[in-house]
């Protein structure tokens, strides 16, 4: 009797497992499918794509597509270099100054500390898009449109990163180390750079990945500020593909998309372990 009940339970759990794995595999395929189509089609000629839009066998027209693509407005090199400059600059500033600000909040007792932290929490979720009109007009007046600094310098004030850095300090940074460094006669700024920063490395690395990717993917603000072709970032280059000149050049469009996605693919599959862990960390703790 008992034995029978057990097998019934096992049967049910086996059926459950089959359902779970089926759903997960379908979702995994759904995640990859569009990118597989994209990569394969970037090697196929436009007539081939028009005959059969889906194929899993690469063709031999990669070079032709490249010629069509770069013969027009899309310039993958310019886009790539501009995106690297902006993302690198913004990430370095955001991570360094956010850690510094978090340290000011964590390590020192000052009168306005609590109000300052409250303000950071309050403005954390305000997106830049809703202040874009004022931001653009301000930048226009001081001649900073078509200037990468207008996209890099605002990164110094990143409330979200400050918040996470502070959370990390609460669990990982012991002020006794700071106190003993003080006894050894180290200055406060030197303590921060020499002792606090190395301790904060894991948190800084995680936040750096996300900051870099966010800046790399950003479209709205770069699109309104950068109007000259030589300053276009990768996402702005991608937006050119919606223009009429690429309307029927499917092979070239798929190739352009592949080029814009490939750097992120490589970064993601190398760092995926840290990225997934980082996303999980991003949720608030109860």
């Amino acid at each position: 009797m008992k034995q029978k009940g057990k097998t019934k339970f096992q049967e049910r759990s086996l059926a459950g497992k089959i359902v779970i794995y089926t759903v997960c595999i379908i979702l995994a395929v759904l995640s990859l499918m569009p990118f597989v189509i994209m990569l394969v089609n970037s090697t196929r000629s436009t007539p081939e794509i028009q005959q059969h839009a889906i194929s899993f066998i690469p063709s031999s027209h990669l070079l032709d597509n490249w010629k069509v693509l770069t013969g027009k407005t899309f310039n993958p090199f310019t886009g790539f270099i501009n995106s690297v400059i902006i993302s690198t600059g913004a990430t370095i500033l955001a991570i360094y100054f956010s850690t510094l600000t978090a340290y000011a909040l964590f390590a020192y007792r000052w009168k306005l500390r609590q109000p300052f932290f409250t303000m950071i929490l309050a403005v954390m979720m305000i997106p830049t898009q809703v202040i874009s009109v004022g931001f653009y007009q301000f930048m226009y007046r001081i001649g900073m449109t078509n200037n990468f600094l207008a996209l890099i310098l605002p990164a110094i004030a990143a409330p979200m990163i400050v918040f996470f850095m502070r959370q990390y300090m609460l669990s990982a940074l012991n002020l006794d180390i700071v106190a003993s460094a003080r006894i050894d006669g180290a200055g406060e700024f030197r303590i921060f750079n020499g002792i606090v920063l190395p301790i904060m490395k894991p948190a800084m690395a995680t936040q750096a990945i996300f900051t870099y990717v966010t800046n790399w993917n950003s479209l709205f603000i770069p699109m309104i500020l950068l109007t000259k072709k030589e300053f276009y970032t990768m996402p702005i280059m991608v937006s050119l593909l919606k223009g009429d000149i690429y309307k029927t050049e499917y092979g070239a469009v798929y190739l352009a998309l592949s080029l814009s996605v490939l750097p992120l693919f490589i970064v993601y599959f190398v760092l995926s372990k840290y990225i997934i862990a980082g996303v999980a960390l991003g949720s608030i703790k109860e």
Binding site: K17, H52, I126, Q137
Partner: protein
């Protein structure tokens, strides 16, 4: 004595707190606060036109706000934004909860969880602009990959013009958003479940609860905060939805079906109308909606212990005062 030396130390170092916050505060004032105030001001002026820099305040201060609230395209874009967000979020949360329940089962471990998570999260990290253009290419009429699949498998008799049908366009934008974000939500929720005290699950198990009972009676109630957090952050993100609706179908789609508020603001101010004043008014309306939602997150994210400690402190003070009064009486 000890007390005193402590006090001296804290006083002498407090200036570094200010010093180290200066870069942040300066950047915030210049690049966030000033543009915000400037946007507010522009909302009350007659400021429009390319390459103009002068403007004057309107005689009727709220004229821009009135005109934008009565603007049919703006109303439509607000409704679109909410519809697209809702039909993306409900299935997204449902699927994320289902995956969370599966991946956090205590008895039957799902193999390959790590790989599944990596794949589910993948679309989130890819440039939204590229994804929008990619899906536009996939759903193109008449010979895109989607039509190719649907026709060759016999689901459709002939190709369907997805980008020309208002509801199909809306659904596709919602689907792209869903596809990009369910992995993120799943990972956040799994982290939330892993943060719950395991004793609770053990107790449920001892009491003979089934997995689904445990999930609905133990796991879900413990995740209230994190669910509200997910809901509100997703809503704020959804209200700013720009890249996908902007690039999936250029400028609003069929009958403006995929025109969201961000796309509307962009079209008003930056594409060729240069109506900075009404764009600013629309931005401010969105700003207020988002600020109210942010307030919810603010309350959630405050240090709980600090809040509790403060409340305790106030209670004690009150008691002390009452005791003092009674003593005097």
């Amino acid at each position: 004595m000890l007390q005193k030396s402590n006090k001296i130390r804290s006083v002498s170092y407090s200036k570094y707190g200010y010093l180290f916050s200066i870069p942040f505060i300066l950047a915030f004032l210049v690049f966030s606060l000033y543009p915000t105030l400037f946007t507010v001001i522009i909302g009350f002026t007659d400021f429009k036109g390319v390459a103009t820099t002068s403007f004057k305040f309107l005689e009727e201060p709220f004229a821009n706000f009135v005109s934008i609230i009565n603007n049919a395209t703006f109303q439509n874009s607000l409704v679109n934004t909410i519809i697209i967000w809702t039909i993306n979020f409900i299935p997204q949360l449902g699927l994320a909860l289902l995956l969370t329940a599966w991946f956090t089962r205590r008895k039957t471990k799902i193999r390959g969880q790590g790989a599944f998570k990596v794949l589910f999260y993948l679309p989130n990290i890819i440039t939204a602009a590229s994804i929008a253009v990619l899906f536009a290419a996939i759903t193109v009429y008449p010979i895109g990959p989607l039509n190719d699949i649907l026709v060759s498998t016999g689901i459709l008799k002939e190709p369907f013009y997805f980008q020309n049908d208002p509801w199909a366009a809306k659904l596709l934008v919602a689907f792209i958003q869903f596809w990009m974000w369910y992995g993120y939500t799943t990972i956040i929720l799994i982290a939330g479940v892993n943060g719950i005290n395991p004793d609770l699950f053990e107790a449920a198990e001892i009491d003979g609860a089934t997995p689904s009972q445990t999930f609905f009676r133990v796991t879900l109630p413990c995740m209230r905060t994190i669910l509200i957090f997910t809901l509100v952050t997703s809503l704020i993100g959804g209200l700013n939805m720009f890249d996908i609706p902007k690039l999936f179908i250029w400028n609003g789609g069929p009958a403006n079906a995929t025109m969201t508020t961000s796309v509307f603001i962009y079209a008003q101010a930056f594409s060729n109308k240069y109506l900075y004043n009404t764009a600013a008014a629309a931005s401010m309306i969105m700003f207020v909606i988002i600020a109210v939602l942010s307030a919810v997150i603010f309350v959630l994210m405050r240090d709980k212990y600090e809040v509790r400690a403060k409340r305790e402190l106030r209670r004690r003070k009150r008691e002390l005062r009452r005791a003092a009064k009674e003593a005097v009486a």
